[in-house]
Symmetry: C2
């Protein structure tokens, strides 16, 4: 029986700590505020927006929503980002992505003021995560949620071997660099990796972010493993599952995140933490 | 007897190819030009400058030298960088670093126009290497020299296991990401790594960039290994050696870079390649 690394208790603890920080900011006359930009009405965006609004309400962060039609031109979105970047009442800016295909994603990311880039997508934020310089830019919320979960459950990282499976800019790369900054010995596997099961067995901690449903099973794990499953996949009947075959893996390993209810449940708490940190930065 | 991965033949081949490209640029009316900024008269800077000048002459790149006194104020250096960034006749800008301690290194790096940042130190360049998006920013010359050397000697990378020992922003991090982009399975070790010899034995390729003279010896290697030694250390008598105990390691492994004459001999060729690429970009 593995320890279940549930997101909710970690998110709750984080939310409570953040609420105290938000109270203190308001006592200093600062109302922490997140600008949330949505283009169109995609269900995934609406679901994330609902979660973010709920979390911000719990913490005491105001949310300014900006909604553009799905066919809005690039110039309109850039103008909104520019205005929000210049607005001293806004501390964090989050455009829900992926954007419709006619947008130039790189230009959109670069248009967010680095100090307000709470999802860590601007070049300055990327450079900061890459350089491992804390305090100058935020990592992506999901990548940091993995670390926050491990931290909440007191999983030691220093000197441990962590294997990150997946090399995307949203998870694989930032989580690798965060683990490196936490003094783990980090390996990065991907579709061209040979003998993935053997590689997994060498590691102490597996961070699975492949985007492939059920890729990781009994053959990849051993007793002693801590498994963080970042994948989320919806079946036709609405059932959610991850990149890990939970029923197979859970009886073998020491600890594992459930899906749903693991990393995903932490993401909006990390987002709120970034908004609070950005707001605090304005009064320092 | 290991194959010696000497830098000079690789640098020579690269220089010849670049000379042809420089000729073509001049035929299009573009004289490729590198601006080389030196602050003070440090011997290490002067040595690198001599090497860079020689390589640029071989390729057909003009070099504009800017020399400031060691006690020049930050504002003077920033003004020079700003003028060079705006000058259409300059294609690459290289401030020799580390700068004297009174300079704000991050501000200096950020003041280089990203398109001319041939040593890959500006945030946009860092973000580009981190994101693995080729063509938008250069990696550091030494990191790319490691890859160029492996490429010259036709060492396959795809699906191979590469261990990078060292996590600096100059070598460890960029070389890890370049190896990842080349489809290697990459691990990153550092001072907090446990049982480094065992980790080395799992890998096919070792990139050693620890800054510690002679750290890697017979206990770390096995037949089959390809060893790239990025370290360079000068003894009191002027003898140069690397992070690898060459005499011990060379009889065991399949291939190894000598020090001196390995990676170091490639660095200015990569610098020249970046200047040519930046100059070509201006006529595209």
């Amino acid at each position: 029986m593995a320890e279940l690394l549930k997101g909710a208790p970690a998110a709750k603890a984080m939310t409570e700590a953040l609420r105290a920080e938000a109270d203190e900011l308001r006592a200093h006359g600062v109302m922490p505020c997140l600008a949330l930009l949505r283009v169109g009405e995609k269900e995934a965006d609406l679901a994330y927006e609902r979660g973010a609004l709920r979390r911000c309400e719990q913490v005491g962060i105001a949310v300014q929503r900006v909604v553009l039609p799905a066919d809005a031109p690039q110039s309109t979105l850039l103008a909104e980002l520019s205005a929000l970047s210049a607005n001293p009442g806004i501390h964090g800016i989050l455009p829900l992505r992926p954007l419709p295909a006619h947008f130039d994603d790189a230009a959109v990311c670069a248009a967010i003021a680095p100090a307000k880039d709470v999802e860590g997508v601007s070049p300055v934020s990327l450079a900061s995560v890459y350089a491992g310089v804390p305090g100058t830019g935020f990592p992506t919320c999901t990548a940091e949620a993995c670390l926050a979960l491990l931290h909440h459950y007191r999983i030691p990282l220093r000197g441990k071997r962590a294997l990150v499976i997946g090399r995307s800019l949203v998870i694989g790369r930032p989580v690798s660099l965060l683990l490196l900054s936490a003094d783990a010995t980090v390996s990065i596997a991907h579709t061209k990796t040979q003998d993935l099961p053997a590689l997994c067995h060498e590691a102490d901690i597996l961070i699975v972010a492949t985007g492939q449903e059920g890729l990781i099973g009994a053959e990849h794990v051993r007793p002693g493993h801590v498994v963080v499953d970042v994948g989320i996949h919806a079946a036709a009947d609405g059932t959610l599952s991850g990149d890990v075959r939970f029923a197979e893996v859970e009886p073998i390993v020491d600890a594992i995140t459930p899906v749903p209810g693991g990393v995903g449940a932490m993401t909006t708490a990390v987002l709120a933490a970034h908004v609070i940190a950005a707001a605090k930065h304005t009064v320092l």
